[in-house]
Symmetry: C2
Subunit: 521 residues, 2 copies
Amino acid sequence: MEFDVGSNDLSSIMKDPVSSQDRSLQLSSALKLKRLGIDTQKEFVVYMRSDCHICKSEGFGALNRIQARVNDITIIGTLNVTLTDLLQPGEASLSHCAWEKLKAEEGQKITFSHLPPIKSLSEVRAKMYGSKLSDDALMHIVIDIADGKYSNIHLAAFISACAGDNLDVREIIGLTKAMIATGTTITWGKDLVVDKHCIGGLPGNRTTPLVVSIAAAAGLTIPKTSSRAITSPAGTADTMETITQVELSIEKIKEVVNQEGGCIVWGGAVKLSPADDILIGVERALDIDSEGQMIASVLSKKAAAGSTHVIIDIPVGETAKVRSEQQAEKLKHYFQVVGMAIGLNVKVLVTDGNQPIGQGIGPALEAMDVIAVLRNEGPDLEDLKERALLISGALLELAGIATAGYHTAKQILNSGKAWKKFQAICNAQGGFGAPEYAPHSYDILAQRTGVVTAVDNRKLAKVAKLSGAPHDTLAGVRFYSRLGTKVEKGQTLFTVYAESTGSLNYALDYLKSESEILTIV
Amino acid sequence: MEFDVGSNDLSSIMKDPVSSQDRSLQLSSALKLKRLGIDTQKEFVVYMRSDCHICKSEGFGALNRIQARVNDITIIGTLNVTLTDLLQPGEASLSHCAWEKLKAEEGQKITFSHLPPIKSLSEVRAKMYGSKLSDDALMHIVIDIADGKYSNIHLAAFISACAGDNLDVREIIGLTKAMIATGTTITWGKDLVVDKHCIGGLPGNRTTPLVVSIAAAAGLTIPKTSSRAITSPAGTADTMETITQVELSIEKIKEVVNQEGGCIVWGGAVKLSPADDILIGVERALDIDSEGQMIASVLSKKAAAGSTHVIIDIPVGETAKVRSEQQAEKLKHYFQVVGMAIGLNVKVLVTDGNQPIGQGIGPALEAMDVIAVLRNEGPDLEDLKERALLISGALLELAGIATAGYHTAKQILNSGKAWKKFQAICNAQGGFGAPEYAPHSYDILAQRTGVVTAVDNRKLAKVAKLSGAPHDTLAGVRFYSRLGTKVEKGQTLFTVYAESTGSLNYALDYLKSESEILTIV
């Protein structure tokens, strides 16, 4: 201290003394919470009046990052200031996710403070400038992301700095380990826990419930967590939800798996990798599939879920996520090397991704396919069945319980054991009920006789989404016209299902405007 | 068209026909605007109820980018959905900047549509993957940014991809040209229009009003646009606003400059480079000073403002923006090469940036310094005066109207011509009035006798901000203890000024907690 501001002598020498009690009251002054209920997804946003005394005295302005504290929990949020009477003087609010995180209630006090520097951002800046990220640096970054300290702008910078092959294998391993370390880890007390994952992109590719049923029927432990649809007409969790309950606590998941050997639940509530959950939203907005982050994302969640042996399915096709064999082979290599480094036994299957799998596209329609295959019905579902057997077979072999895995898997499916196991798993999760068809439907007919030579997966998925899927669980498309199918003029190519005539029209209007979903020559 | 959905036969074959009139009504259905007045700075945000029929039918979700249309103007915004009755069914809202852009009024209709692909984002992704950006690519990116098509996430990705010396000189030139092309350009019909720019970071460094007055008094044309404080206690525009009006239309600016040869106005309203204005906010959040973007930002605005000859001042110091001679030399090279490419005559001065300039820190306190120097008062303001003469002299030489510029500038200042010119400019801008001292102040005294050996510019700026600057224009710090000053115990080191006792206490509390603003040995 080089100047005359001691801890005790301030009020005595001030020109306008204010008692220290008054001052501390003023400095700690809180605002009162009002719920606005604005959903900003994962980003914590704080709302304050622009003329609020805290904004003024702290020098807070729009887009500033500030600390907010409620119930002894602190978050870092981005400030949006309000210019109207949306908030009354003395009030503040939080975006939905921040409100939940702080367990806030209307009328509670909220206090604010300046942001302490986020040290790991200097590592992100160094990465932008071409440095390599050490394991420590990656750990600090991932911890800060998981704590919600990064704004979307910071997240985008981190993702960009890591995109374009900018992460080497050592960095991918470090990122994967950091993601595991910052999330929930499930332990099963077993030497052998299996799992499967598909690098998305194929409508109707609902093999998971089949693989889980076959593997569990074969005696394996397969605690499967699945996602809901993000940009597709249905995720596995959406599909399963038309049959049984999928939002289970970790305790309930353990109960189901211990009883039946497997489960098929929504992974969103489990928080296996909170940093990854946050990054994914921004990656989607950037439409970037950074290889390194994708591998870290998938493998960290598998390891955190307690898996030991994992099959990765990479469908390759022009309208799939992975578009060339070369790209698939590179991914395969990374998956295996990183898997080994974190103690996972990984086998990668590169499969055909040129057209939809099965007939249904949409939650209930895909669930019908799954049930039909399990019941050995539906000769038109050979593709879905074959793919499920291929993956199940590889899984049985990887786990070391079969030498001709495909045949063992086929026996289990044909015998009805997989169907029985599926029903048992559903019952353990909360009950089994087969879905019904939507009340409204419309057949799309061939205008000429010929052979189907091309199918645009993305446009087909869009029709299903416009008809209401996945929100309207019965909505979607049933597709009968696989590549190579010979069709007669007037024959039904596919059927659109919807829960309301409005939604049906919406999808049909899109069909009128789009001419190249199927090519018939 | 390979299937049976013609443009006319739809309703005739639908199972649940809806007349096409009803359908188009339903499809085009608009929402009614309600003003919430949320300030998100530059980012367009659209607020809709999560259960809104448009959200559902279009499949819009939080963080989606969507098109919104009001008054035949279309913007692209990020969707935030509301989960409460903040919006009533049928209502939607916009963030403040989007509301302004669409010239929206409460109760108007707003319509929404899906986002057409933003093609230039593929150029940004290519840059992430190591490609060079062509002039065309940079033009498309800058146009889309200026149109508000990029979300903060996209902007952060672009900035990150260009950071870390990732832009070569050709790209910096392309970026500069694109920024000029997308903004307002001012023409003066003169061969010689001068300007100056300082690469910030020094509290109290208010040379601009002095340089403009001297240059204009010397007969040069110097239409100076300045910024408001962003993170500092005062910008030149804030300082000038305590003396005269600074928010002038382009017409009024032209009038002032044609009459007096110079002006000192706020540049924010002029929109010389709208893309840059948008990028700067995100760069600040990332705390990134990408050299390429900084050069493009500065030079594009100078060119757009119609300048032909420009002095760039780069203060170098440990707590300044540029911290090493080496970094300054590199910047100097880039400024000259890029300047030449766009037809600007650029001279760069590398100056001492180790301590505050002048005595005042805060809008009114800095204005007092400026006036004192112009009136040849204040022997304690030699540093500010010398710096202004150095820059003015270089400018007179660059413009070719003096061979010993420093001496010419000194004559103009000492003769009172600069002071007369300054008052004339202020009167032309709307009137002249000298600011007064704040009602509350507190002297910080030396606790020992010795010599000042270090000054922390950043902490000193923070004291000024906590006392209320720049919002409270009279608030700030008057600093008497330059490096090397001999002080006696009990002598005043600096004085804190505030408009309220609350703000004064706020600054003093910070001083109590911070021990190393000045070092006296």
